[in-house]
């Protein structure tokens, strides 16, 4: 199993989630994060005090999938999240050694 970590633009979340459902993803964890990267943040001015905000709002997806699904999932995310503008995000893949479903005690791929 692999843990796929993807960071995308927030308004793409719904679209990506739907696309992933169709390729068989049945669960994920979604976190609102602040992204730092090539896409630059905005500048805020409060009564003359300027703040350059280095971070932009992003959404991070964490999805554990069986090895066989990895390619399909990454390419689905890549396709759906893409807007061709800077800041579209990244996808990382990390190895997962074990998985467990709390409710049933099922293990590994059965737990996904």
């Amino acid at each position: 199993m692999k843990l796929i970590i993807a960071t995308i633009k927030p308004f793409k979340l719904e679209e990506v989630r739907e696309a992933l459902t169709t390729v068989g993803v049945r669960g994920m964890m979604v976190t609102e994060i602040k992204g730092f990267g090539a896409q630059s943040g905005h500048t805020e001015i409060y009564r003359g005090a300027e703040y350059a905000v280095a971070f932009v709002p992003k959404v991070k997806l964490e999805i554990v999938v069986p090895d066989v699904l990895v390619d399909q999932v990454t390419s689905t995310i890549a396709r759906t999240a893409r807007t061709d503008k800077i800041g579209d995000g990244k996808i990382f893949v990390v190895d997962v050694e074990a998985a467990l479903r709390v409710r049933t005690g099922e293990l590994n791929e059965d737990a996904l």
Partner: protein, 500 residues
């Protein structure tokens, strides 16, 4: 009976009479034969009581939740409760001081010290009851003294509460409370007395008539007494300074104290490096809106009656704020690229500050001009000069209340001119028992206003410095650095503002 506010034409005249018996003598000769002692009734009207009661409630609304939210929204989440608690606690503490000795210090005769401060004859509201009354600005029309005590109480509460914005996010709560108790006692109550203590229209008419009669009769002793009575007003009132609703007493006073405080406490940890962005402009908007709403009680309530001048003050307060908001918004749009909400509401508050001393003296068009000018001056100070000076007046108490108050106080001397649509300088003495519009003299008025501004800057500036120093030596003004980092809410008050 006593009353508030400066009617300077009259003040000047009164002072002149006291100082120049010879001149007065001549005036007296002309009409001496016809003069009878001045008598009057004291009428209390329920419409006035109804309005003044609401005005009192509106000023409380300005403080809590108004000012508390306006300031609270501008600080970081971790200091939200500290600001709310400071404003709330100051209101509670000062209101108790007010009924115990503050009202007496501000609104009784101070004997030998009367130019500067009142006495303790009404401490604990002794002698104030359901039958005592105070004068308004109309001959024969009076207000229950309780009504006046309550209305003025809210002014005493809001003024020190304004100060906390200058050193928000770093002051020790205990030290703040001690400082505020000292500050209202030694700065605010005397200032209120100096600007607003006078005898009221009937008292003046009575003394003026008595003076003329005494002079006609050649009774020097009686004339001297009457002349002394005519001059038994607060210092700034006698200078002829105009301040309809508290430009000097409230705004310049608080603004300067804030400036001194932020200089003495020093800049916040992380100043210039960390992001001090407001944690909730929504709260700031609510606060600004309630300040605007409540300010009608503040400004139009200062008329003490429910009549057409009340409504004039309402209109002036409305359009000065509106013009100032729009001016700041466009200035920011043009110079900084965006019309921000914070800019808009900052302008509104600057306009409200500036129109405060002018509310019943200027006309609506004058008020619009005043709002625009004050807003642009404050904008320039806050958006450019403050950064250049590396001044960490956290929430711009000096930049808005101090600067806006100064612009307003000076402009009042100009806009009162009937030729500019103003209401003119009140004169109760020429025809005792009636309110006349006195002749407008630019040089006199602007000098009187300037003297009042400079006096307030000096008195409040030096006085506040001494009090801050004292408290600092006694118990320290500032929290420890790690407390400041963690935020005052948890460290000082044991709670976070939000658990969402």
């Amino acid at each position: 009976m006593t009353n508030l506010k400066t009617f300077s034409g009259l003040a000047a005249l009164g002072a002149a009479l006291a100082a120049a018996p010879a001149w007065a003598q001549e005036a007296a000769d002309a009409s001496a034969t016809a003069i009878a002692p001045y008598t009057y009734e004291q009428i209390v009207e329920k419409g006035d009581v109804a309005w003044m009661t609401m005005a009192t409630v509106l000023v409380l609304l300005m403080i809590v939740p108004g000012l508390a939210l306006f300031y609270g929204g501008l600080v970081r989440t971790k200091n939200m409760l500290s600001v709310l608690t400071q404003v709330f606690a100051i209101t509670a503490v000062v209101s108790i001081l007010w009924v115990t000795y503050g009202y007496s210090m501000a609104f009784t005769d101070g004997g030998a010290w009367n130019s500067f401060v009142g006495g303790f004859s009404k401490a604990f509201l002794r002698g104030v009851d359901a039958t005592t009354v105070v004068a308004t600005f109309t001959n024969g029309i009076y207000l229950p003294e309780f009504t006046f005590v309550a209305f003025q109480m809210t002014f005493a509460c809001i003024t020190p509460a304004l100060i906390v914005g200058a050193f928000a996010e770093r002051i020790k709560f205990s030290s703040l409370l001690v400082f505020i108790i000292l500050w209202v006692t030694f700065i605010y109550f005397p200032m209120a007395h100096m600007v607003w203590w006078w005898g009221g229209p009937d008292f003046l008419a009575e003394q003026q008539t008595a003076l003329l009669i005494a002079q006609a009769a050649g009774d020097t002793a009686a004339a001297d007494t009457a002349a002394a009575n005519l001059a038994a007003n607060g210092l700034l009132w006698n200078w002829g300074a105009l301040d309809f609703a508290g430009g000097t007493v409230v705004h310049i006073n608080a603004g300067v104290a804030g400036l001194v405080g932020c200089l003495m406490l020093g800049r916040r940890v992380g100043y210039g490096r960390e992001n001090f962005a407001p944690h909730s402009l929504t709260m700031t908007m609510i606060g600004a809106a309630l300040l605007w709403v409540g300010w009608f009680g503040f400004n139009a309530g200062s008329n003490l009656e429910a009549n057409s001048i009340t409504s004039l003050a309402v209109i002036n307060t409305f359009v000065a704020a509106a013009a100032a908001g729009v001016a700041w918004m466009f200035a920011e749009w043009f110079l900084k690229g965006h019309p921000s909400l914070l800019g808009l509401v900052s302008g509104v508050v600057a306009g409200l500050v500036a129109v405060t001393p002018a509310a019943g003296f200027a006309g609506p068009m004058g008020s619009i001009v005043l709002g625009i000018v004050a807003s642009l001056v404050c904008f320039f100070f806050v958006a450019y000069l403050k950064a250049a000076l590396r001044l960490d007046d956290s929430l711009d108490v000096f930049g808005i209340h101090g600067i806006g108050g100064i612009v307003g106080a000076l402009a009042t001397g100009i806009l009162v001119n009937p030729a500019l649509g103003g209401a003119g300088i009140p004169d109760y003495l020429s025809v005792p028992g009636t309110l006349q519009v006195g002749a407008y003299d630019f040089g006199f008025m602007i000098t009187a206003q300037l003297k009042a501004v400079l006096f307030t800057l000096a008195f409040s500036g030096i006085g506040s410095f001494i009090l801050f120093k004292l408290v600092d030596m006694l118990m320290g003004l500032r929290v420890r650095e790690d407390v400041e980092r963690e935020g005052l809410d948890l460290a000082e008050h044991g709670e976070p503002a939000y658990n969402m």
